[in-house]
């Protein structure tokens, strides 16, 4: 509370000073005319003075006019607004409504669509949501897979939703859903993301030059904002694909002041497998699997200055397996055995946020949220032996492994425009973490019984648990964004964060700075530096995003992960047709954490901090991006030249080795052709250097027992970690989309052809008994059909 008062006081001092400058403030929200959704990142321009500001994450803007007259308009890719003329002697509150211009015959963009994007900070991307549906997909549109095509980002194993940013690991990305971090963002071991694209309004990707308002992870921020719900009428969407089906409903609730949106999705692998089991195509012991997720949100506008959002998200995965066997002999004993295994994992997030604009035009967002993630693995094993005299002996074995993390998040963020070229951000908050880094329990229960007797002669329960840790992660930041003579745009800030636990507290200072210098309107030079600190490490055992990957805190002797990243580059708007950007980066990671040589989650019953080792990482690269975002032909060319490695004292004899997802060349090209209002075709071609894998070059007999000098099995000699490159990866995806409308609503049918020319892309190698290596390929040519109905 003390911090809150200090920040309010400081801001009010600044505001008071600024008030003497006699500005008239025009503030408000930019909205989509059709849905009432507030638009994030739209530019609001006073056409008289050519002053320009951008809407914040809640669609709010605040522009100052120097005399009583203003002609305000808003621009955003795919939207346009009318010019609103104002004549006022006092501060004014307006809502600007923008109309989508996506229809083919309405693509009338008078100025360059890249005019403002050219000057965005380095490492900063906004993924247009309306483009997601036109990207060819594997079964269904996926937010994270669309992010993988961005320069500087690797997708990990083929088909998965892994995100590896500029040489960073999988646990170094902050996935935020409406300001609340999520710990696991994938279903089905990483093949589908937890984000249901139909309920998403905006995605922001930051991979370098992080503003001070962001923190907690070192490699990227993926800021996802949900829709608020249609303000005008009840609308919905039903989609059916080969993997899952989903439904969405949105609209006003009682009045236009309150809106709701609810969406859900469920897979049907378990339905497939049950049907195949009944047809005897699959055995009875084949596992069943399903996932689902549910998003719900209510937004209520109390007044033009106050709005509250209540959001809820839950996503779960379950995998079940049951194995039964009975052995019976005539006139002999009967023996039956049942083995059931279940594992599950999921996130749950609930949040309440309040947007308030003070009388001094300070925008305040206050968030209270609960977030949790848990994973469990359960096994029930039962044997029953019945002899000829009907005496029964029953042995039960139950085993359980579980880990969990739960957070209570409280934070407040403030923003204030001193003038149209000078904006301040500040905030503070605290996250209370409660983490269970793994517990193993088992129970053995042995019982003899018959008609007359029931004896339990063994009932043993044991557990091995890591200590549950409760600690907090506070932060406070200040950020200043200033534009000098419409040429130089500087963002600098500082963030102080820490991890607080009695006797083990650590605090770190994170300076951030970035600058964009516009030489001429279509050309901008960019540079920046940012230091990020992360107080959680993600321990992974394989290349697959696994729900059992363990989050561990930077406690018990582990240091927080830190990254220092330098960026430089330029953007060029070529004749209003193409946006060309080149960026260079160099990143140094300190205290990366990994399992010690050969250690893993379940095989060693020792505390997590004894299984881990800390090291360093380096990454550098160049990213080239050429985009065409408007017209009948749109497309992108993204190329990344990059190198990333790791160094651990305890691994690879202390010698640096390539990072698991190091890829020297990475190329993604896409093209979308709008043939008519109804039909469009998308083509995506991707190419990349093969990922490194660890394979043996030689083998020899070790002394399995040096004392008796016994040599039995040969072991493989791995010269170093990740010593061999898989063959290059390339793939062509095609998508044909048909859209039509009738009384029911808008129908959309998508035919996607994944890996159209069926290239065998290796994901791993293994050594065979016949003394040869073979590469493993996962995804061949896969066609998929998805139908979506948007009804109104």
């Amino acid at each position: 509370m003390q911090k809150f008062k200090i920040i309010i006081l400081l801001l009010h001092i600044i505001v008071f000073y600024e008030a003497n400058c006699q500005h008239i403030v025009v503030s408000g929200y930019v909205e989509d005319l059709n849905s009432g959704e507030r638009i994030i990142g739209a530019y609001v321009i006073d056409t008289i003075t050519n002053s320009m500001v951008q809407t914040n994450d809640y669609g709010f803007f605040n522009i100052k006019i120097s005399d009583n007259k203003a002609a305000i308009m808003a621009t955003y890719i795919g939207f346009r607004s009318d010019i609103i003329s104002l004549q006022s002697g006092s501060d004014t509150l307006i809502n600007i409504q923008m109309k989508p211009v996506l229809e083919l015959n309405e693509v009338v963009i008078s100025s360059s669509p890249y005019k403002h994007v050219v000057s965005s900070p380095p490492g900063y991307s906004v993924i247009p949501i309306y483009k997601l549906a036109s990207i060819p997909s594997l079964g269904e549109t996926d937010l994270l897979k669309s992010i993988q095509y961005q320069p500087g980002i690797k997708g990990g194993m083929e088909g998965s939703t892994g995100v590896f940013v500029r040489g960073g690991g999988p646990g170094e990305n902050l996935f935020m859903l409406d300001d609340v971090p999520l710990y696991n963002v994938s279903h089905l071991y990483g093949f589908f993301s937890s984000f249901n694209t139909s309920s998403i309004k905006d995605i922001k990707l930051i991979k370098g030059c992080f503003p001070a308002r962001y923190g907690g992870r070192v490699s990227s921020i993926i800021d996802v904002r949900s829709k608020d719900g249609n303000i005008n009428s009840i609308k919905g969407e039903i989609s059916a694909g080969i993997i899952s089906s989903g439904v969405l409903l949105e609209g006003p609730l009682f009045s236009k002041k309150t809106t709701f949106i609810i969406s859900g999705r469920r897979s049907y692998f378990d339905t497939y497998s049950e049907a195949l089991k009944r047809m005897d195509i699959l055995g009875d012991n084949f596992p069943g699997y399903y996932f689902y997720d549910l998003n719900a949100r209510i937004a209520h506008t109390f007044s033009p200055k106050d709005k509250i959002f209540i959001s809820f998200y839950t996503g779960k995965d379950r995998i079940m397996n049951k194995d039964e066997a009975t052995f019976e002999k005539v006139d002999a004993e009967k023996y039956s055995e049942t083995d059931k295994q279940t594992s599950g994992w999921g996130n749950m997030v609930g949040s309440i946020r309040w947007n308030h604009t003070s009388k001094y035009n300070i925008f305040i967002n206050t968030t209270f949220a609960l977030s949790s993630y848990n994973y469990f693995l359960l096994r029930d094993h039962k044997t029953l032996r019945t002899d000829t005299a009907m005496n029964n002996n029953e042995i039960n074995y139950n085993a359980y492994y579980g880990s969990a993390i739960s957070d209570i998040i409280m934070k407040a963020d403030f923003s204030y425009s001193l003038n149209n070229n000078h904006k301040l951000f500040a905030g503070f908050g605290n996250t209370f973490h409660r983490i269970n880094p793994g517990i193993n329990k088992y129970r053995i229960y042995n019982r003899d019984y018959n008609e007359n007797l029931d004896t339990i002669y063994l009932d043993i329960e044991k557990s091995y648990a890591n200590d549950i840790l409760s600690f907090s992660e506070p932060h406070i930041y200040f950020e200043d964004n200033i534009k000098i003579k419409n040429k130089l745009d500087i963002n600098f800030g500082i963030r102080l964060s820490g991890i607080v636990l009695s006797g083990q507290s650590k605090f770190r200072v994170e300076p951030r700075i970035s600058a964009v210098y516009t030489i001429a309107p279509p050309f901008a030079l960019k540079a920046g530096f940012s230091r990020m600190t992360q107080y959680f490490h993600l321990l992974t055992t394989s290349g697959i995003s696994s729900p059992s990957d363990l989050w561990i805190p930077a406690l018990k002797g582990l240091e927080p992960l830190r990254s220092d990243q330098w960026n430089a580059g330029f953007s060029y708007d070529w004749a209003d047709k193409l946006l060309i950007s080149i960026e260079f980066y160099q990143k140094k990671l300190n205290y990366t954490t990994d399992y010690k040589n050969g250690a893993s989650l379940l095989t060693d019953l020792i505390p997590w901090y004894e299984k881990t080792t800390q090291g360093n990482g380096k990454a550098k690269g160049m990213e080239i991006s050429i985009e065409k975002q408007s017209g009948r032909f749109t497309g992108a060319f993204y190329y990344t030249f990059a190198k990333a490695d790791r160094n651990y004292r305890d691994l690879n004899n202390g010698i640096s080795f390539p990072f698991k997802y190091d890829r020297l060349h990475d190329l993604n090209t896409s093209l979308n052709i709008q043939f008519s209002k109804k039909v469009d075709v998308s083509v995506l071609w991707t190419f990349g250097t093969g990922y490194p894998v660890t394979i043996p070059y030689e083998k020899y007999f070790p002394a399995l027992n040096l004392i008796d000098n016994i040599q039995f099995n040969m072991i493989y000699y791995y010269p170093s970690i990740n010593n061999y490159r898989l063959q290059p990866y390339h793939r062509l995806d095609l998508g044909i989309h048909y859209k039509t409308q009738n009384k029911l609503g808008e129908h959309r049918l998508s035919l996607d052809l994944f890996n159209a020319y069926n290239h065998k892309n290796p994901v791993n190698m293994y050594f065979l008994q016949n003394y040869s290596f073979q590469q493993v390929y996962l995804l061949p040519f896969i066609p998929s059909l998805t139908y979506t109905l948007k009804f109104y």
Binding site: Y289, N321, I460, T541, S542, P702, A703, L706, F767, F773
Partner: protein, 314 residues
């Protein structure tokens, strides 16, 4: 459960076709395996590595063993001995004369001295020279062994059973970092055909449990007991040491405490992890630890202390 991910892959995707791959051939190297101790003549085994795709590397007799290698031993940087190759000899394990697989090199007179540094140099035809250095740690004596019968709890061994709890007392030297390997052997009183006994221990100082047909024991360091007198607890199964038939000869249990080098300790840990991860397609491969320059293997030393207990368990 660890294979569920694979099952899911297969269910959802199908594993595609596979192609054979070309793997770089980086040449062959000498392999030295030897533990030299204060209670036996210096004895090492010399072999060679094989190309990973080489089918001929599959058995010890098939590999190109070095029968005419020059194997020299230096003690504290002074030449001490040259080891001789032999195919026939007395086997302690089998308690008889034995035909060994090729590659055994033995000294006729040298026994490793605790506190000394030993260097081995191996030269042979076209192979690059391989060298390794080790120290023989000082002996740490077993001061006492107590045993008593217990009912084993589940988790201590796979099956429910009765067993023997053993407490082994020793004093760790204060001034140096020590590493230990403890084994238990079942040795007949007449013949010498011994068995390594499976040991289990939940003692907090134990860092590695070795469980395989060829290697049983527990390994630990003195990081939490430095300079202290300590009683190490372990359990062994009754069925492993009891007589099966009444006419069997009596046995004794040999508790052997090896004071080992740091590199041998690392080797044990790496080998243990290698075995655990072997065959798991999702586990990262384990890099084997070696202290041989220009080759592979482990040449190391240990100082041995042992206590025998005669018993007649049924």
């Amino acid at each position: 459960m660890k294979y569920y991910k694979l099952i899911i892959f297969i269910f959802f995707i199908n594993i595609g076709c596979k192609d054979s791959m070309e793997i770089p051939d980086t040449g062959r190297k000498i392999v030295i395996n030897g533990l030299i101790t204060n209670d036996s003549l210096i004895n090492v085994r010399i072999g060679t590595s094989s190309y990973i795709l080489d089918i001929n590397g599959k058995t010890l007799n098939d590999q190109q063993d070095l029968k005419n290698a020059e194997v020299k031993i230096f003690r504290n940087q002074n030449y001490t001995d040259s080891l001789e190759h032999f195919l026939y000899g007395y086997s302690d394990i089998y308690d008889t004369w034995w035909v060994f697989v090729p590659g055994n090199y033995k000294s006729r007179q040298s026994v490793a001295q605790p506190g000394s540094e030993y260097l081995i140099k191996v030269k042979a035809s076209w192979f690059p020279e391989a060298t390794a250095i080790t120290n023989i740690p000082e002996i740490v004596e077993i001061e006492n062994v107590d045993t008593f019968r217990v009912i084993l709890a589940p988790g201590e061994f796979v099956s429910l059973n009765t067993g023997i709890k053993c407490k082994i007392r020793f004093t760790d030297p204060l001034s140096v970092t020590n590493y230990y390997l403890l084994t238990v052997k079942k040795v007949p009183t007449v013949s010498k055909f011994y068995n390594n006994i499976e040991i289990n221990s939940k003692d907090p100082i134990v860092e590695e449990l070795l469980h395989s047909r060829y290697n049983e024991g527990i390994a630990f360091s003195d990081k939490v007991i430095n300079g202290q007198t300590y009683e190490l607890s372990l359990v062994i199964r009754n069925e492993d040491i009891a007589k099966v038939q009444t006419y069997e000869e009596d046995y004794s249990l040999h508790f052997i405490l090896y004071s080992i080098t740091e590199e041998y300790f690392k080797f044990i840990k790496a080998l243990n992890r290698y075995s655990k991860n072997f065959g798991n397609p999702l586990a990262d491969p384990v890099m084997m630890f070696s202290n041989v320059n220009g080759g592979f293997g482990m040449f190391t030393g240990a100082a041995v202390s042992s206590v025998s207990i005669k018993y007649s368990f049924k």
